[in-house]
Amino acid sequence: MKLQLSDEDIAFREEMRTFFTTQIPQDIRDTVAARRELSKDQIVRSMQAMNAAGIAVPNWPVEWGGKDWTPLQRHIWHEEMQLAGVMPPLAFNASMVGPVIAAFGSQEIKERFLPKTANLDIWWSQGFSEPDAGSDLASLRTTAVKEGDEYVVNGQKTWTTLGQYGDWIFTLVRTDPDVKKQAGISFLLIDMTSPGLTVRPIELIDGGHEVNEVFFDNVRVPAENLVGEENKGWDYAKFLLGNERVGVAPVGSTKRTLAQAKEYAKTAGAGGTSLLDDPLVAAQIAELENDLLALELTALRVVANSADGKPHPASSVLKLQGTVLQQAVTELWVDLAGPNALATGAADGSDVPDLARVATTNYLNYRKASIYGGSNEVQRQIIAGTILGLRG
């Protein structure tokens, strides 16, 4: 047992810190620090800066631009990025479709898509969820019927995050309706400019537009866009969702946001006094700091002990507790902003600090964190079932 990082890892951390704090355009980091939404352009520039440095897709095979990093190094990369206020590489590209194509795609499909995916020249959208499926993903109904060397796709996807920016969408479609629901699913790549494909925005409760419905009306997709084998899509989806869960605890960003909240609190009291002098506020922040420390350490335990490739059992704690704390910090922000939090729509000329204005939209927006990407109920089910062996 020991506390210190190895000299090598310390040097690596320093390297990452320097990169993220100097090589990512300042306007992007400022937007993150302002707790505002990044534009499409900012997201693209951010990922391209990382890709230029060869660190946008470290989890991919080395031949496709990946890095042979240890789990700890990958963790450091991810944490330093968040601490510096840099958005992680677009998950749909870097963590989802990229690894699936690299693992299961043909050489041709790899060459066609992987470089552009790493460089965000193609913006991928995710077409998994459907309106009537909810957490029961495999009950999806969108169909793809083979006609000659094309699939004809009909159906609807929903909760397609940032689908309004999407060039391509990777989908799960039902190619065999006559077998067990998991067995008849395929993994199909679809050009979003295809005729018959429409994207409809879904407004969220914070007023923002980040998710969409995607409709497929006799969309014709070349059969060569199938990844891997027909009817094996569920296996690829499980592989993808498994990847998604690694390092999902948003420790670094929550840590940065909490530190920022503490700084804000120092002048947020009546007449500019420090709210840290309010013992209940101070205790709440101290408790959040301690809980976040426990989460970060748990993440470190997981990466330190998963060198052998097996996931550490505690990893399922990360998503669950990660979202709990992420949401708790957004709630703290609203508490600190107090009545000023109402000034959501204020523009220039307002005397309300900008960070108070965005507090509640962030709070409302992050209610999603415990729903999307495997709800907290699903996480509890995994812990109870897989770790504790409690199977109802």
Binding site: V211, E331, D335, N340, G345, A346, D351, T360
Partner: protein, 380 residues
């Protein structure tokens, strides 16, 4: 001791529910209204006026209907059930309440009647940027002869841009004064914007803006403000009760009707138990808020009403967060969408929580009064 509505009160509730149910029959109706300024529906406001709802708390001689806090609570709760965006608590209970309590006979005659008739919508400009829940305004009033002017900034002022009249708190020699500012006063700038719950607030700047003292010139109105704020806190409590009750009903219906893995969601005990906990929170909040209204009605000393309002606000803060957060979580993704109703209820509950002191603010206040009593006794 009686917690039930009498027949007149029940009739009032049914009438208000009918009116608002028509105006906001669907979540979409409300979205349409809140999308354009002033963020609420002038026609619905007129209908509320015609029904007498806007004059309820005011004396008949001032142009009101001489009803009391229970009647106000009934309207507020119905407002909450459909989260109607009309500024009932803000204009009637708070701004109107200040005029009724502090205004001269002339001021009352001029303002209350018009307010009750829906002709004049006042707003109370009290909150200040960077001056969280402070009782000492940074806006100052200066006297020159008999003329008063105000300087400084109030923000966010709910409904501040649409308001036909501003009631403004300002620091004067010896305390806090209240002033009436006309919408066309010189040196007054109002910049409106949307609030996250679909409402409107404004940045209101005063630059040597002429103002008329509300009530006796130069008098410290701190106690009047505290009382009107307490009345508004209690009325907000009722608005929150209506909103929480609806959020729970909607969630319950969703658990019954929505199927996942081939069975209704209510098959999952972990979810139904959480709905049960939401019910517990709601009923506990209902008890405290209703009691606070009865303390008001009882006409005891001001301190008792202020304390009761704090107690109600604390309970509503806890319940509102709990129910608002769980309502979305138990719905899953659809609860996050603006097209569906439940998220708007969570928004509104969040706004109410942070207006006029959040739960922690009131908890801190209450924790400084522990020495005043052996135990908290609800009945006189």
């Amino acid at each position: 001791m009686d917690f039930t509505l009498d027949s007149e009160q029940t009739a009032l509730r049914d009438a208000v529910r009918g009116l608002l149910g028509k105006a906001y029959g669907s979540s979409e109706d409300r979205r349409t209204v809140t999308k354009t300024d002033p963020g609420w529906d002038e026609k619905t406001w007129q209908r509320l006026a015609e029904m007498g709802a806007l004059g309820l708390p005011f004396a008949e001689e001032d142009g009101g209907f001489g009803a009391g806090p229970v009647e106000v609570s009934i309207v507020a709760e119905e407002i909450g059930r459909v989260i109607a965006p009309e500024p009932y608590v803000e204009a009637v209970v708070l701004a109107g309440g200040l005029v009724a309590a502090a205004g001269t006979a002339e001021q009352r005659a001029e303002i209350i009647g018009a307010l009750a008739e829906g002709q004049l919508v006042p707003a109370f400009a009290h909150t200040e940027p960077g001056n969280r829940y402070s009782e000492v305004p940074t806006v100052t009033a200066t006297k020159d002869g008999d003329a008063w002017t105000l300087s400084g900034v109030k923000e966010p002022v709910l409904g501040g841009a649409r308001a036909d009249l501003l009631i403004v708190s300002a620091t004067i020699d010896g305390g806090t004064g209240l002033f009436v500012v006309q919408p066309d006063a010189s040196g007054l700038t109002r910049t409106s914007y949307a609030t996250f719950d679909g409402g409107r607030a404004a940045h209101v700047a005063f630059d040597s803006t002429p103002a008329t003292p509300l009530g006796e010139p130069g008098a410290d109105q701190s106690d009047v403000i505290a009382s009107a704020v307490a009345a508004a806190q209690i009325a907000y409590g009722h608005e929150a009760l209506g909103a929480m009750a609806f959020a729970l009903e909607t969630t319950t219906e969703y658990l019954k009707s929505r199927k996942q893995f081939g069975v209704p969601l209510m098959t999952f005990q972990a979810l139904t138990f959480r709905a049960a906990d939401m019910y517990v929170s709601l009923e506990l909040a209902r008890s405290t808020v209703t009691w606070a209204t009865l303390v008001q009605l009882d006409g005891g000393d001001d301190a008792a009403v202020l304390e009761a309002a704090s107690r109600a606000k604390l309970q509503v803060s806890k319940a509102g967060r709990h129910i608002g957060q769980e309502a979305i979580q138990l719905h899953g993704g659809i609860g996050m969408t603006a097209e569906y109703s439940v998220g708007h209820y969570t928004s509104r509950l969040t706004a109410i929580d942070h207006a006029l002191g959040d739960g922690r603010h009131h908890l801190t206040a209450l924790s400084k009064t522990l020495d005043d009593h052996e135990a908290v006794e609800p009945l006189p």
